[in-house]
């Protein structure tokens, strides 16, 4: 929009920012320009320095070198208060909302309107003021509703309202659509459009290239703490962008090596129904193949995975694993070699504070130590073997999992089940929040699994992933499987056609 011709004036500028952490140069001479009414997207692999740059901008980190200019005048940002003074607000990925306070009190947290006596809060004014802010962004909701009752997208709207109520002129959004459905994403984009019209500048961090191209007025690419380029969306392609991000020319997509022919049936599901809202599910997965389970968010994919795994109760149908009927408990399915790698690895798949070693051997403890007596030496040995096999980038087995990157955390979850000698894997959104380079590596890992004769059922919201990784795919809509696509029918158009068709 601002590609040529009329360019809005620069609102804020970072020039020559460097930031070093012990042993790492997180930012190296990075310059970044923010213009009113413009969406400036920031892309780069994990560890490229996006978060550090944003933390410098919002005052959470202090730059070692470099300067800031507000409306062309040099200023200093030493702490978050300074940043707020210049109208900079961050919409954090992990929301900064308090669940059991209402919307209005959340919006004005720390800036309560004083009541008649010291310490008192003027409830009526706070709620009226909140309503005004919510109206301004077109979010029609009662400000007395407690935040924990809201969905993720609504909470994000509250976050945005909170930022704008602080007179934010620059909104930083870090992966805002990570937890949103397609419809909610659309709402967010509409709102971003409205904010732009009002002259708000938006810095948008995303891994999803489709979003980047849909929203960006300008795109800045970071790699290894350096700015690689600032490009206009009209003058670049996704492939070029990825090449800039990874520093070498690669396929956006992952080149699939030839697969062995599918072997014996590993999983057979017949007429499966569950109270969680799925009905009449029939599917098979064979040894040596990756089968996709596609559909829109909320179509019942995760519910199918949980029912097969025994995590949810089923109401009808049967599940056979290696020809034997399983009873529907997680103990039964794991002991027979099934593994579920859940969507939310932080809360469901990992003990973040524990070491990499502790995590990878967790699911296999029974097989590793049948007597029940723990031998630390043997455990570390087993953990090291897995770390080497999956090429998990960690300084040591003792490092806490929470400190690793998203891609490496995902590998730890996979390693956990490898060690438990699982033969059938269900992956629920294995690449969520993982950068492009790590994605390819996760897919290579999946490939290795099926080469070794395992079977994989993969859930993904990104159709392109299903198309490039899977041998076959089932498409779900409203809790039912509405179609099966063989390898030669597997295209994004076919998937989407089935997923949304009425």
């Amino acid at each position: 929009m601002n590609a040529e011709g009329v360019r809005s004036p620069t609102l804020f500028e970072l020039r020559g920012i460097s930031k070093e952490f012990p042993g790492v140069k997180a930012l190296d001479d990075v310059s970044f320009e923010i213009r009113a009414g413009e969406v400036h997207t920031l892309v780069g692999e994990n560890g490229a320095g996006k978060s550090t740059l944003m933390k410098v901008l919002c005052g959470a980190y202090r730059a070692d070198r470099g300067s800031f200019f507000h409306h062309g005048r040099q200023v200093a940002i030493a702490d978050p208060v300074d940043a707020r003074k210049f109208g900079i607000a961050v919409i954090f990925q992990e929301f900064t909302l308090v669940p059991y306070l209402d919307i209005a009190k959340n919006i004005f947290l720390g800036r309560e309107i004083r009541g008649p006596l010291p310490g008192l809060v003027d409830q009526r004014r706070i709620h009226a003021e909140a309503k005004r802010v919510l109206d301004a962004i077109g979010f029609d909701i009662n400000p007395y509703i407690q935040v924990h009752k809201l969905g993720v997208a609504q909470q994000q709207m509250v976050e945005i309202a909170k930022a704008l109520s602080q007179d934010a002129r620059i909104l930083v959004m870090d992966e805002p659509t990570a937890a949103l459905s397609d419809r909610e994403t659309e709402l967010l984009f509409t709102m971003i459009g409205r904010l732009k019209t009002n002259g708000v500048a938006i810095v948008y961090i995303s891994h999803r290239l489709a979003e980047v191209f849909a929203l960006a007025d300008r795109i800045t690419v970071l790699r290894d703490g350096r700015k690689v380029a600032t490009v206009l969306p009209a003058e670049t392609t996704p492939d070029q962008l990825v090449a800039l991000m990874v520093g070498r020319s690669v396929d956006t997509t992952y080149a699939r090596p030839p697969r062995p022919h599918a072997g014996k049936v590993v999983l057979e599901v017949k007429g499966l129904g569950a109270p969680s809202g799925i009905a009449n599910i029939n599917l098979t997965v064979r040894a040596g193949e990756i089968v996709g389970l596609s559909g829109l968010v909320g179509s019942g994919r995760t519910e199918v995975a949980r029912a097969i795994f025994g995590a949810d109760r089923i109401s009808s149908g049967e599940i056979r694993l290696f020809g034997e009927r399983i009873t529907g408990s997680t103990q039964d399915s794991t002991s027979r070699g099934m593994a579920l790698i859940p969507e939310n690895r932080k809360t469901q798949g990992l003990a973040l504070a524990r070491s990499v070693g502790d995590n990878v051997i967790l699911a296999g403890l029974r097989k590793l130590f049948p007597s029940g007596i723990f031998a630390p030496g043997k455990a570390i040995q087993a953990a090291r073997a897995i770390i080497a096999k999956l090429r998990i980038a960690t300084p040591s087995v003792h490092r806490a999992v929470g400190t690793l990157s998203g891609g490496n955390q995902q590998k730890v979850v996979i390693g956990k089940w490898l060690n438990a000698r699982a033969r059938f894997f269900i992956f629920d959104e294995p690449t969520r929040g993982i950068d492009v380079g790590a994605k390819a590596e996760i897919f290579r890992l999946l490939d290795r699994l099926v080469h070794d004769g395992a079977a994989v059922l993969m859930i993904s919201s990104e159709q392109i992933e299903i198309v490039h990784v899977c041998d076959r795919a089932y498409v779900m809509r409203s809790g039912r499987i509405v179609g099966e696509l063989a390898r030669d029918e597997l295209t994004e158009a076919n998937i989407v056609g089935l997923a949304v068709h009425r």
Partner: protein, 314 residues
């Protein structure tokens, strides 16, 4: 699922603690002729006041994902300070100030240890429980402190406009705590301390200061509770408050305040205190030994939370 859908809509919205309270009153009313008399009901209310003074700050503390195990022992210690000083000097004002100061000191110690040194609340307050209890025994040599002026006793037995003084004090304490929690900045930050501490930091609020404030409030209220306790017993006993932290935590839990995410409900705590009070009173009327009463309070916690659990999301 089936229980939820089978439950009538209105009943489904009544919290577990209210149901437990109604059931308790009905059962005791049917079993004991002495239960549903005006005298006995007034008794229950007066006897619940000390517990309420402890359960109110306990609600706030638990909302911050904290705990105060020391509150009963601090009450005891403050009560002994009160008795000793009033006997020594004859000054009620001085004695009360000293008792409140003792409570505040322990509250400050709890708050500083937890927020500045980062010692978990459970451990910190277990430690201060031991210290307060030990000091009480040390000061009194294990004996009761007797001989305090009659005037103090009247704080517990006296009436104003026909209403027992302890009830007035408790009502005032409830009102103050309600305003504190729902109408002040401090109260708003209590929700945030348990619900999202990061949000507070980003908003530029001192998490440490707020935490210290919450535990100070606990100490202060323990000081006031000590006044009622001393007046009630007309003396100070080094074991008077033993186990009161259990009742207070139980009342908060019964009242539906969660130990996570800053999910608290002050009125629920009031109902929880009454439920505990009714249960103790009813069992007393039925001559059930006090050891069995403790067990029954434990059961009450589980039942009330079970009723709530039936309705919460699966």
């Amino acid at each position: 699922m089936s229980v939820r859908t089978a439950m009538p809509n209105l009943l489904a919205r009544v919290p577990g603690v209210a149901i437990a309270l109604i059931v308790l009153c009905t059962v005791f009313g049917l079993v004991s002729a002495r239960f549903a008399t005006p005298t006995n009901i007034a008794n229950i209310l007066v006897q619940s006041t000390i517990l309420l003074l402890l359960a109110l700050p306990m609600t706030l503390i638990i909302m911050t994902e904290g705990l105060d195990l020391s509150i009963g022992a601090v009450l005891t210690f403050a009560s002994i300070i009160l008795a000793v000083i009033v006997i020594a000097t004859g000054s009620f004002a001085l004695a009360l100030s000293a008792a409140l100061a003792a409570g505040l000191c322990f509250g400050l110690a709890n708050g500083v240890l937890i927020s500045v040194l980062g010692i978990p609340p459970f451990i910190t307050t277990l430690g201060t429980l031991g210290i307060a209890q030990g000091l009480s025994l040390l000061v009194t040599d294990g004996q009761s402190v007797v001989g305090i002026p009659r005037s103090i006793e009247s704080i517990y037995s006296g009436r104003l406009a026909g209403i027992p003084l302890p009830i007035l004090i408790a009502a005032l304490a409830y009102a103050v705590t309600h305003i504190l929690l729902y109408h002040t900045r401090f109260g708003t930050y209590i929700f945030a301390l348990g619900g999202n501490r990061e949000a507070l930091k980003i908003a530029g609020i001192s998490v440490r200061g707020m935490l210290i404030g919450v535990y100070l409030f606990g100490g202060l209220m323990a000081g006031f509770a000590a006044l009622l306790m001393t007046a009630r017993l007309n003396s100070a006993h080094p074991t008077a408050g033993v186990g009161m932290e259990f009742d207070a935590i139980a009342a908060v839990a019964v009242g539906g305040t969660s130990f996570e995410r800053g999910n608290g409900w002050l009125f629920g705590t009031l109902l929880g205190v009454l439920a505990v009070g009714v249960l103790r009173n009813g069992l007393n009327l039925l001559a059930v030994p006090s050891s069995a009463q403790v067990a029954s309070i434990g059961a009450l916690v589980i039942v009330a939370l079970f009723i709530d659990g039936l309705r919460s999301e699966p």
